[in-house]
Amino acid sequence: MAGRQVGFHWKSDTLRPGVKGFPDRMNRAIIAATEYGATRGEAYMKREARWRDQTGNARNGLFTATEHTPRRHRIIHAHSVPYGIWLEVRWSGRYQIIVPALRQTGQDVMRVLSRLVGGLK
């Protein structure tokens, strides 16, 4: 009696290309989340800074920068005015805005990243 052979053939390999392209897609997702967080962070600082404006220079000078390298993505929140450091530390941080903004931005970035990573295919 002739033996019966059972088998299957791969019609297409979707796994290996998908895995191979994952780091690149992941990197793009992190860049997108970082840029989004930076934009929101700058808006947060300018909106929430607790001092009363006199010239507007301190509030308008609050800015955010981003840096992207293959292994690191960075958001920088900073003052432009030279007395910005005193707004952060004077009177036990009464007018600080950088540290609260960092906390807010961190939460924003993690929230977006969670959604983006969950949607990567």
Binding site: W86, V89, R90, W91, S92, G93, R94, V99, P100, R103, Q104, Q107, R111
Partner: protein
Amino acid sequence: MSRAAVYSLLVGDTELSALGIGASNIFPSNATDDPPATQPFLFIRWEETSPRWGLSNSPGKTSMSLWAHDHGGSYNRINLILERCKEILEAASHVVGSDGYILTQVDWRGASGDLVDDGYKTLTRNHGYEVVSRKAPAA
């Protein structure tokens, strides 16, 4: 947020008292522009509260920082005060405050570098925390 619980934990500690910190020189943020001129002092700064685990009905976590100030040329006493505060708060669990909030847990989030406060004319450092608390159920 559990303001009363945190305050009572710090104000009632004998080691902090020996370091010069007690009821007369622990202040909520923005409470005074005229702190002690010669003694160290401590500010408790409560920041934003966000829902824990992203759920609106979860216990809230609130960012809080302690700013220790001292006069003179050394950060030694400031460091001792902040380290003692850290020991007290990290050991605290389910502390019922007189304001109707229960402190559930305190997580240390880091320390600043050596700073100068040119408003109070002091040396200062601060420690950051996240405080999880909930409203006490009605009796």
